[in-house]
């Protein structure tokens, strides 16, 4: 497969995973507007922006999230608009859909018609919507529908896409993005720099993450109904059976890299394999015994970033002099 086509598929997977992730968080955040205290809402916005390594729009930053309900609702509208429809925000859902579609346009010949139509229709729906439209009634449903759209796309891919390298790179992009976004979010959530709520617990904050990642049922099965921050974090990091855990993403990433042919830049390909193996071992063997979970999450995040760089070097941006020639 053409290296640039593989890169387009990889980024398509990344942008769609980012879309799904953001929709899940925004769905929960907007649902919380109904009855949660302002402080929790404020923390929720802070968490979303910080894990994306972005700053909120200037007005909200200046006011540092007002603590009266009326003002917080007005601010929520601005922030939701910024994260959903703002073309200049590279992390907005609109941008993610537009970018995934631009990548898909370049590889329409490598994906099925069903995949293209599914993605194109979703893009058109987002392009033609405004926050004023969706804010009127059931804004949460808008995000639920978009998550379904992304899942439909990957469902279409799973039943219609030929299992060649294109499939591997699409899935690899998805799992790397999954890993990077979630490890960033968990690192923010677990650090102590944010003051505790007045009740002295972070229960709701963890509940909202479990809900966003559709992990509440699995949590109850494993730990019961009381939410413990330690248990929730442990499950979201190391439970290999949970599709939204870090371990799940790391395992899939490792499998995908092993499935690929030897990279044109073999040295970077070997490094990618080493990094994915190191990530697996870190979560499986070192995570359970670590005393500093935040530091460990930061380490996992750094390794994930370097893994992405090595994949790009090995298969997409390799130097022609290093590559083998086929006649």
């Amino acid at each position: 497969m053409l290296a640039r086509s593989a890169e387009c598929l990889y980024w398509m997977g990344r942008y769609l995973e980012r879309t799904e992730h953001l929709c899940q968080l925004l769905g929960v955040q907007i649902g919380a507007l109904i009855d949660r205290p302002v402080r929790e809402l404020t923390f929720g916005w802070h968490r979303i922006y910080k894990h994306l390594r972005e700053t909120p729009p200037s007005s909200s930053q200046k006011e540092e999230f007002s603590f009266t309900d009326d003002e917080s609702l007005a601010d929520a509208y601005t922030l939701t608009d910024d994260l959903t429809f703002e073309p200049n925000n590279k992390y907005s859902i609109w941008s993610c859909f537009a970018q995934s579609r631009e990548n898909a346009r370049q590889v329409r010949h490598c994906i099925s018609e069903d995949m293209w139509s599914s993605l194109n229709l979703s893009y058109l729906r987002v392009r033609d919507a405004t926050l004023a439209d969706i804010w009127q009634d059931e804004p949460e449903q808008f995000y639920v529908d978009l998550v379904r759209d992304v899942n439909t796309f990957f469902g279409m891919a799973s039943v219609s896409m030929y299992r060649d390298e294109g499939w591997d790179f699409l899935q690899l992009g998805k799992t790397i993005e999954h890993l990077q976004l979630r490890v960033n979010l968990l690192a923010i959530q677990s650090q102590d720099s944010i003051p505790l709520p007045s009740d002295g617990t972070r229960d709701f904050e963890w509940t909202s993450i479990l809900n966003a990642y559709r992990a509440s049922g699995a949590y109850q099965q494993n730990y019961g109904v009381d939410i413990s921050a330690d248990d929730a974090l442990d499950m979201l990091v190391s439970n290999a059976d949970l599709p939204n855990s870090l371990m799940y993403a790391i395992t899939r990433t490792d499998e995908r890299i092993r499935d690929l042919d030897i990279a044109p830049d073999a040295k970077s390909g070997d490094s990618a394999l080493r990094f994915s193996g190191r990530l697996k071992s870190l979560v499986a063997h070192e995570w359970p015994d670590t005393d500093d979970r935040t530091r460990m999450l930061v380490l996992i995040g750094n390794l994930a970033d370097r893994l992405h760089d090595q994949i790009a070097e090995a298969w997409f941006n390799y130097r022609n002099e290093n590559a083998s020639r086929q006649f």
Binding site: L121, P264, R325
Partner: protein
């Protein structure tokens, strides 16, 4: 058919184009906009016997054009024999000295040709031949798929000839135009990229023929061979279906500032290590000054009379024609010899006095750059517009493939001038498309 049903079909056909993103890119001063190409659901019907005339006329024409290109880049016998004036050829900007003595597989320079045909009171005539990077074939197939799926019963009842085999024909043609003629050639379709107006078509065709869709940055020339960058290393390319103009394909040979091309590509091509379809330099044969001589080429190379006639053309480089053109601007369509896309032309009868006056000055300043043609009464076809049937001007662009043999599917991209009273069918200027049904008795 009741109007409500026709409206529903039109709506579904239009929506299917939107949903599938069948688009072209339109440029204005500031930005590029992706637009869905308008489609009219009512097909244009061409009787089979008329089609046979078109088909044989086009095959004859492409054969002569290829003979001309081989000749003009070798011994130029047609010039020596005085059939075409030497200055017409040498002054053409698309005449490429770099192609001198360069041969191609099967002596084919134009593998893919899209000729524009209009139906006048005197029958079908060729308006122009597009021999560089003709586009529109993807819309021919997309139109057919959309109309067929939305009017299945009518389609079935009318014995319409298929166009779906175009992809197979194109693959066979490209295979025949490789030097090795291997059964499984490595094919790359070279595109300028996602911002090109015809990018949808490039993706479509790459899919149809199983080619890699490459940009210049994906190709590298090494030891006189062309390779593409793949996820398993560098893979040799046998044939490049290039959708990039000559000027941009190789910065070492043509425009040095081209970032779209491949340094050294012409070297590999001249060594016979890769085929380029269409070959560089084919533009000399679709220059509007050379167009006038195509009927003479047919007589000269094939010893046959042209089956399809040209449109009467006045060459402003000839003093008499210049005088006639300037005296009759209000009756003529004037075009620049190297123009395309409907840009830079004057439709005299629709222009204001000032527009004609300004244009006349341009003609006087550089007469060699202009040709003039009478405003043709183009055939009109019924279109579904604003809830009613309305007549609109149409043309036909069939696609002819020349490899070891000549192939043509029985259908064409029909371009429609959608604005009322318009004669301009180009999609960049408000034109749309419709399916063409070649119907057998």
């Amino acid at each position: 058919m009741p109007p409500e049903r026709m409206a529903a079909i039109q709506e579904r056909v239009t929506r299917s184009f939107t949903n599938e993103g069948i688009s072209f890119t339109l440029y204005d001063e500031d930005e590029a906009t992706e637009r869905i190409i308008p489609i009219d659901a009512i097909p244009r019907v061409v009787p089979h016997d008329e089609w046979l005339t078109i088909e044989s006329g086009l095959k004859q024409r492409v054969s002569a054009l290829n003979r001309f290109l081989h000749d003009v880049y070798h011994d130029a016998q047609i010039v020596k024999d005085g059939v075409i004036p030497v200055d017409i050829v040498k002054s053409c900007p698309q005449y490429r000295l770099e192609m001198h003595r360069v041969t191609t597989p099967n002596d084919v320079y134009v593998g893919i040709c899209g000729s524009d045909i209009v139906r006048t009171n005197d029958g079908y005539r060729v308006l122009e031949d597009n021999l560089r990077v003709p586009s529109g074939v993807s819309y021919m197939i997309a139109n057919r798929r959309a109309v067929k799926s939305n009017m299945p019963r009518i389609f079935r009842q009318n014995n319409v000839m298929e166009v779906e085999q175009y992809g197979r024909y194109l693959f066979e043609t490209l295979r025949e135009l490789t030097w090795t003629q291997t059964s499984e050639p490595s094919i790359a379709l070279l595109t300028p990229g996602i911002f090109n107006a015809a990018f949808y078509e490039h993706v479509f065709l790459a899919h149809e023929i199983g080619a890699a869709l490459v940009e210049g940055q994906d190709l590298v020339v090494n030891d006189g061979f062309v390779y593409m960058r793949t996820t398993t290393g560098l893979r040799k390319v046998d044939v490049i279906y290039r959708r990039l103009d000559d000027d941009f394909i190789d910065p070492l040979t043509f425009r040095r500032d081209s970032a779209l091309g491949v340094p050294g590509l012409m070297h590999a091509f001249k060594l016979g290590n890769v085929s380029l379809v269409n070959a560089p330099g084919t533009g000399v044969a679709d220059d509007k000054s050379v167009y006038v001589y195509v009927p003479d080429m047919i007589r000269y190379y094939l010893s046959e009379e042209p089956i399809l006639q040209n449109v009467d053309t006045f060459m402003c480089r000839r003093p008499k024609d210049l005088e006639y053109t300037l005296d009759n601007l209000d009756k003529l369509v004037v075009k620049t010899v190297g123009g395309s896309g409907g840009y830079g032309m004057l439709i005299g009868p629709q222009a204001t006095i000032k527009e004609r006056s300004d244009y006349a000055q341009g003609i006087r300043d550089d007469p060699e750059n202009f040709i003039a043609q009478p405003l043709l009464e183009l055939s009109r076809s019924p279109c579904w517009i604003d809830g009613a049937l309305r007549p609109r001007c149409v043309d036909l662009r069939p696609f002819i493939l020349q490899g070891a043999e000549t192939r043509i599917v029985s259908g064409a991209f029909c371009r429609v001038a959608l604005p009322e009273g318009s004669y301009v069918v180009n999609s960049s200027q408000g034109g749309g498309g419709k399916d063409v049904w070649v119907v057998r008795d």
